[in-house]
Amino acid sequence: MRKLSYILCALGIAVLFCVPAVTEVADMSYYLDFTTRVVIFAMAAVSLDLILGYGGMVSFGHAAFLGVGGYAVGILSYYGITDGFIHFGVAILASALVALFIGMLSVRTIGVYFIMITLAFSQMLYYLAISVNTYGGDDGLSVRGASVFAGVVDLADRDQLYYASLAILLGMLLICYRLIGSRFGMVLRGIKSDERRMIAIGYSPFRYKLLAFVISGVMCGIAGALLANQTLFISPAIMHWSRSGEIMVMAILGGISTLFGSVIGAGLYLGLEETLSRFTPHWQVLLGPLLVVVVLFARNGVLSLIVPRRAKTRHG
């Protein structure tokens, strides 16, 4: 079974690599934009899966980091700075600091309280973005220049943005796989299944959970910076709580604690949005019941229908 999932992963990556060429030939550049969007949201979903699936932390405010990363790019280019290293450096630093702050106050809480406190902080950032009129407030902010890396890589170019995003996503997946197999990951998973026992054998859950939360926040912040580059527009709506809900849906649709499942979940969610909205402007009326059905009948995510889980995992 593991072999099958490796093959599927490799196949998926190969398909993703061919997307720009295929859309170029078939003259469907729209689908390149769509796939870029999927790749970017996959990062957000993977970052959430890292803390949700392996740390048991149900963050209901992850869209806040999309906003932090996005606004970092938007505000810098507002002042005429388009250097990609500065853009992404600031995005990473800012989301790390925000994650550190939120994490310090929230990772001590568990269960539904953690859900609520992360929600509270993302709402705070949402309202902050709405009320700062210098940067567009409620109307949002146009990104005046995409990130340019040393004059070589220009994210305004759609192919370059796509490959950059894909490379970053693959890098993140690799880092996450290494991370969860490492000592750090073992401790994190131990804390998820039994925090008290981990304390008893001498670990301090706080530090491990906080670090995981910061790593996850940074990953989501990078996704936000890329998203700002793609849409060249950033508004508070990116931090709305329903956006956090969507990221969570993506992670869960593909099956939590699978990492790669989050990528599939992101593709599935955005794909559904795309196809359903073609039939009717009221596509949410179809998507809503579909989510309910998935929760009620496909308990380990859609991926579990293709690749059976090796063992039953316990969810937090």
Partner: protein, 307 residues
């Protein structure tokens, strides 16, 4: 700020607070008793408002419309409960969040299909559209006073029901140990549905009476739901008393934040800075309060005694 203005703000805060309480009451009961994170509670508030706006036009009577709208919403709520929520009680919070998120998407869009994407404005019934001079110099809209009154009466009725009736006794018993309650022969499924229906009635009532002073639109329940969750966490999950006090607290904090922070900031900032910082901090204030409560008293201000 003089006394009259302060009193007016207190009344505004109270009015917002009791509205919040009507929504929160049902949510904290389902949360406390069935251990269900129900994001779909906000749509009951929204449905109440829509039903009431349509029924007011259809029947010509506002009071009749409020009652009918609440009844209709209870029916819809019970259908939702039987079809989806019932299967979620035994699941983890993650599944509950996801499934009820789906329910929210469905109803927000359904409302857009039925009533159209534009907001609906309904007016305050003529008999209540006047203003009342409470103390010399303070004219206050009669309708807002009625909201405060209705909210307080409903809160009192709920406290009486929970603390002094057979049903209330079962609800409290269910909150402390639902397995034991079902073992001694109480139909816990029926009890859950009843509690959910009760919560739906309160949320619909809030939506119905809020209709005339707010715009009725799709998604209006979402923001209220988030506020209700904040209230529950501050008050302590499952506690009616906590929900009541926290509702008023959140209502007052929010109202005073919006009116007082700007002048307060002007004392030590430039006018321009205060103009942008005031509203920013004001809208974050209740979330700040919730974060503080969670940090220093994670179980909320008034956690239920049982458990």
């Amino acid at each position: 700020m003089n006394g009259v203005l302060a009193l007016e703000q207190i009344l505004n805060g109270l009015q917002f607070g009791v509205m919040l309480f009507l929504i929160t009451a049902g949510l904290t009961l389902t949360f406390g008793i069935m251990n269900l994170v129900n994001l779909a509670h906000g749509i009951l508030y929204m449905l109440g408002a829509y039903f009431c706006a349509s029924l007011t036009v259809a029947t010509g009577s506002f009071v009749g419309a409020v009652i009918l709208a609440s009844a209709a919403t209870v029916l819809v709520g019970i259908v939702i409960e039987l079809l989806t929520l019932k299967r979620l009680y035994a699941r983890n919070h993650l599944d509950q969040v996801l499934a009820t998120f789906g329910v929210v998407l469905f109803f927000n869009e359904l409302v857009r299909i039925i009533w159209g994407p534009a907001s609906i404005y309904s007016s305050v019934p003529p008999a209540l559209s006047g203003q009342v001079e409470l103390i010399p110099g303070l004219l206050y809209p009669a309708y807002r006073l009625v909201i405060i009154g209705v909210g307080l009466v409903a809160a009192a009725a709920l406290v009486l029901l929970i603390n002094f009736s057979k049903l209330g006794m079962l609800i409290r018993a269910g909150a402390s140990n639902r397995i034991m309650v079902s073992a001694i022969g109480v139909n816990i499924d029926l009890l859950n549905t009843l509690v959910f229906g009760l919560g739906a009635a309160f949320a619909a009532l809030a939506g119905a009476i809020a209709g005339p002073i707010l715009t009725v639109e799709s998604g209006m329940g979402n923001d209220m739901l988030i506020l209700a969750l904040v209230v529950i966490v501050i008050g302590g999950i499952g506690s009616i008393k906590g929900a009541f006090i926290a509702s008023l607290l959140v209502g007052l904090i929010d109202t005073f934040g919006r009116t007082m922070l700007r002048p307060l900031f002007e004392l030590f900032m430039t006018k321009a800075a205060a103009n942008s910082a005031g509203p920013a901090v004001a809208s974050m204030l209740i979330y700040l309060a919730m974060a503080l409560v969670l940090f220093f008293r994670p179980q909320g201000l008034f956690p239920p005694r049982t458990r």
